[in-house]
């Protein structure tokens, strides 16, 4: 990494964290409301991020945009599978609705001083580890 690059990634993270907290995307209440289809807010956030993201990707491809190191930006396609994404996704969704926090906001909430989220984080680490151990026995 170039000398200033760690600072770059840290700054991107700070901006991301502020966005998550200030928008309510890190709030358990907002996730609860989203799964009850009771507000447009979360769909607006994800949807508008998505629309902007699609445009960004199209621009990158059309104009062959290079990254800061001068390499062509290229994202490899994800391997196709149905069980892996559907089962894994459903398990994630169960946890997302119960704990009300996904892996990004978890860190933001800890930073904001919601200490019980440390427990959610530690359990998520454990869940990740158990997945790694059982990986060969699960359908992918």
């Amino acid at each position: 990494m170039p000398v200033k690059r760690p600072l770059y990634f840290l700054a991107v993270g700070v901006f991301f964290g502020i966005t998550l907290l200030k928008s309510g995307a890190a709030s358990w209440f907002r996730i609860y409301e989203m799964f009850h289809f009771a507000a447009f807010h979360m769909y607006g956030i994800i949807g508008s991020a998505l629309v902007c993201g699609i445009i960004i990707n199209q621009v990158i491809k059309r104009f062959e945009v290079k990254d800061l190191d001068g390499n062509l930006i290229h994202q490899p396609d994800k391997d196709f599978s149905i069980p892996r994404y559907l089962i894994g996704g459903t398990i994630f969704g169960l946890g997302w609705a119960i704990a009300g926090a996904c892996p990004g906001p978890m860190f933001t909430l800890i930073g904001a001083g919601y200490w019980p989220v440390l427990l959610v984080f530690a359990s998520a680490l454990l869940g990740t580890w158990v997945y790694g151990v059982l990986r060969d026995k699960l359908p992918h």
Binding site: F9, F29, G53, K78, G88, W96, G111, T128
Partner: protein, 190 residues
Amino acid sequence: MNLLTDPWPWYIAGPAIAVVLAALLLGGKTFGMSSNMRTLCAICGAGSNTEFFNFEWKKQIWNLLVIGGALLGGLIAHFFMNGDAAVPLNPEIVSQLQATGIDSATTDYMPTEIFNSGAMSDPFVVLMLVIGGFLVGFGTRYAGGCTSGHAISGLANLQLPSLIAVIGFFAGGLLATFFILPSILSHFIN
């Protein structure tokens, strides 16, 4: 609207997240937060007996910096940007929550009945957070990504696997919301 003191509307937050996505692509990386947990397992030595954690985690330090930044961003927004203001929820959701004993929806950013240090003396709440967190960690790695990696980054790159994962996210989320959460929340009725 004051971006410093008021909650951010969706049309500010969504494009802001797209800026994060673009910034990471420009940095030669991709947007995905959950892989940090795999990295952390590897740093803790899980790679010595599990192949899945036996990889060059030093190449993932950039992402730990992003997540460290996200933590710092939470701290900054908490102390300097009124980040914990009550969330402007749908009033119907507020009264629905109040009916189950969650009274903090109009006053707090998070349900204090669950996310206060005091609530940690209740084994039921502890169990709820442990199970929720475990499912998040297990499921996200199984699915190969979370909200950032699939719902934003993958879908923005028109990846069919990400669409399947997001359908799973919502299937699981709705299942938990309508069949599991009601009995969990009934615990809080006084």
